[in-house]
Every structure is written in C-alpha cells, then in structure tokens.
Amino acid sequence: MSDIAYAPSALPQPIPVREILPWAVFGGLLMLIAIYFIGSEEGAMTLVSGLNTHEFVHDARHLLGFPCH
C-alpha cells in the first residue's frame, strides 16, 4: 500500500473491512429493499399485487425523480 504513504501518521485509523462487511451486507440489502418499495414497486415491476403502494407514495416518487407511470 505504497499509495497511502504520503501522510501515514495523519490518517485516522480506518475501521477494518471484516468489521464493516457483515453490516454492509445486512444493512445494504435492507436499505435497497426500502428504496425499491419507495421508488419502483408497482412501476416497472410488481411484488405485491395491486396499486396501493404506488398510489400511496405517488407524490414522493415523482418528486424524488423515480420513473413513474
């Protein structure tokens, strides 16, 4: 890692990757599912039948810039 040798002592101690990874997998998946439901459910794809999710978050979806009907 010669490329971080420019100011080695000034760098704050990074969090080890093995400590981040489990959180990243668990948290990342959860967050992406949440964003999917706000952004795309009942748009291009549908997991839950009906249009209720789509209609309920309709305004948020438009204003957040997700492609919507």
Partner: protein, 249 residues
Amino acid sequence: MVGSLLLRGMLVGILAGLFAFGFARIFGEPQIDRAIAYEEQMAAAETPSAQPAEEEPELVSRATQAGLGLLTGSVIYGAAIGGLFALVFAYVHGRISPLGPRATAALLALAAFIAIVLAPALKYPATPPAVGSPETIGARTELFFLMLVISIAALVVAVALARRLWAQHGAWNAGIAGAAAFVVIIATVQYALPTINEIPEGYSADLLWRFRTSSIGMHAVLWTVIGLAFGALAERSFASRSGRRAALR
C-alpha cells in the same frame, strides 16, 4: 462501531427525510397539483362532454398522497439513504484522506449528491404527472437505474484516480484530474444513451422547470442534512471510542 454508525445514519436520514418532506410539501406539491389539473383537463378534452370523463377509481386520496404518503416516502427514503451513507462512510473514513469525520461526511455527501442526484437528473430528470407514457415505464426505469449505476461507478473511478495522483502531484492537481475524469465519463455516457422525451405538446415549460428544480432542491436538503448532521454525530462516537480506549490504558 459499524452498527452504531449505521443506526446513527438511519436516524439522521429520518431527520433529513422530515426536512425534505417540508421542502417538497411547500415547493413541490403546488407543481404536482398543477400537473394533475392539466392531466384532467387533457382527459376531459379527449372525451366528448355528453359522457362525462370516466373517473379512475381513486385508491388513495390526493390529500393522503400529498400528506402522509409524501411524508412516508420521504422518511423511508431518507432513512435508507442515511443508512447506506453511514456504511460507505465507515469504509471511506481514514482510507481516502486524512480528513476527520465531519469533513469526510460533508465531502462524501456532496460527492454523493453530485453522483446520485445531479448527474443522473441531467440526462433523465424527474417528471411530473402527465409526462411519460405507461408503455415505456420498463425502458425508462432501466435507463434511469443504468445511468445511476454508471454515475456511481464514475465517482469511484474519479476518487481512485485522485487518490493515486495525490502523493506525486498534490491534492489540487489530483482533485482536478479526478473531477475531470468524472465529467468526461458522464458526458460520454450521456451522449451515448438514448434520450427520453415524452413531454406532451404544449405542456407548461414553467411547470416543468419548477417541478424539476424543486425535485433537485428536495434532494439537496436531504443530502445537506445527512452530511452535516451525520458528521457531527460520527465525530462524537469516534471521540467517545478513543476516550474509552484512553481510559483503559
């Protein structure tokens, strides 16, 4: 440590979502109302007056969509973005620059806003109701997310390049090279990707502009709150961690 950062990120995201909701409610909702009024006008003009336009069954009332629905959407989106932000922050902090938690969080939020909001919106901007035909929703969604993924990848490339050049050429030159790489990648990709224009003839340009600026404004509020508030919280959690370590010694 990562768990507590993730929790803080989500809490900050909820706060940011509330602010974004306030902004969207004041600046965005009037434009949505105008767009829906236009949509109804068009529908009324298409059907002869003898048989009144068939009302679509309203699953959710307009008041709910503009109130609780918008609030729910903003807060859940905010919490999710805040959580992802915290995870990326946990990786980036101490790895890319010697900056402390607050400066890292602020710069990361700015970079994310440019890569996740601004750059994709230049090619595929937010569309108010009555713009966009239902038949193309699949293609539009694919292109939008493709643009989003490319934009994030371009940011990663730009940061990696800047970091590589930093030691030899200094922070300024490295930063300029990274930013230039980002702009070139985005410009090339946006030139190559197909354009979507489904704006009906005679659609109000003023409405479109106001809708799109309030959409970008809503994201700007969200990312500003996340970047600044998360930085403050993260600084505290780092300070308490090193304080505990010092006490143990």
